[in-house]
Amino acid sequence: MIKALSAKEVAKRVVEGSMFILDVRNEGDYKDWRIEGKGIESINRPYFDLIDGVEDVLEHLPKEEVLVVCAKEGSSIMVAEMLDEAGIKDVYYLEGGMKSWSEYLMPVKLGDLKDGGSIYQFNRIGKGCLSYLVESNGEAAIIDSARTIEAYEDFAKENNLEIKHMIDTHLHADHISGGRRLSEKTGATYWLPPKDADEVTFSFAALEEGNDITIGNTKIEIQPLYTPGHTIGSTSMIVDGQFLLSGDILFVDSIGRPDLAGKAEDWVSDLRDSLYNKYNNLSKDLVVLPAHFGKISELDEKGAVSAPLGELFEKNDGLNIKNEDEFRRAVTENLPPQPNAYQEIRQTNMGKIDPTNDEQREMEIGPNRCAITE
């Protein structure tokens, strides 16, 4: 009997366990994007090469515990059943396929705030997107929400939280923001940097320096800090004087790319100024919480991604390019491919187009690709 393994269970294996994966998608999709992790080993054999039998692949598989993965689920069930019949013990398939994997959000508590309250990271492991929930006295703010808002709604319900603020650090190009939809549903205020919102078709509150946001009676402060470069509006946030939510400007292993809105050359000096001046003037004790990770090795033992600002100024190559020309080349030349459907995603986030749910899922397939390096 084959068994379904949910994205949540697979995420646990990625963070702290092990698993052998037979990925049966076509070679191109596998090369582009797949499940990775310290204890994860995977091989690729397209399902259409296994229709007549799995004999050829058996010698490359362990005798027990194999997870079969495909795009949606159907082909992995077919192949899993064949492996089961061929005598492999404990054959699993990924429930909902890579589509579910791409959407699963794993909440991880990062720490407590000074006057009560706490901050959580919601790790969308499959796509490398990180969003945040700050709560205090029954109120919550969510920063850089994923499209699948149910995860936050469930979390708020379980913890008796009222969602008061939805905040996007910038107009996203790699995923569809859930900020507007969840604010419409809950009555929360939707905050966007006005310089990224020239063309949006809906109303929003201006995320600007000076417009501090407070939640709960204990006044947890969220201070916006204008840090253009990835987009012209990109705004970082300092939460409770402890955490620096760096959006897509600074990542743990890399820095943000300035080209996704088509203005790489124009924004290079903004990006450099944000990183080398504005960030450099902040307390090096701030804990950087980026909106993405690139490699699974950036996850700590709890599955969280974070690093002290001081450590990044020592170790992150993107913060250590002395020469301005060299910096310009690093952030404009030889960049990785753009995120899937990034132009349509930007249009959707502006409210200019309104794709169906299935189309939105399809648009978001693949890795985030918001950094200058992969």
Binding site: N26, E27, G28, D29, P46, Y47, F48, D49, I51, C70, A71, K72, G74, S75, M78, E362
Partner: protein, 75 residues
């Protein structure tokens, strides 16, 4: 185009379009052309990858109103 046979996989999802395509292809002779109709988006990449790996040639594919049409010549 001289289509030898038409296979309708509309409404079927992965892996069925390719499983049926393969079965139909097995009954054809080298040089014959199979027309496959499908509504599963995944079929686009998968059918072209499958054609390559099994020595057939995907001559053409089109989309009209959500229906994909593939013309595959048996190798």
């Amino acid at each position: 185009m001289n289509v030898t046979q038409t296979l309708d996989t509309k409404g079927l999802s992965c892996p069925m379009p390719i499983v049926k395509t393969k079965k139909a292809m097995d009954t054809l002779a080298s040089g014959d052309i199979l027309e496959v109709l499908a509504t599963d988006k995944g079929a686009v990449n998968d059918l072209s990858a499958w054609s390559k790996s099994s020595g057939h040639e995907l001559l053409e594919h089109t989309e009209e109103g959500g229906v994909f049409k593939f013309y595959i010549q048996k190798g």
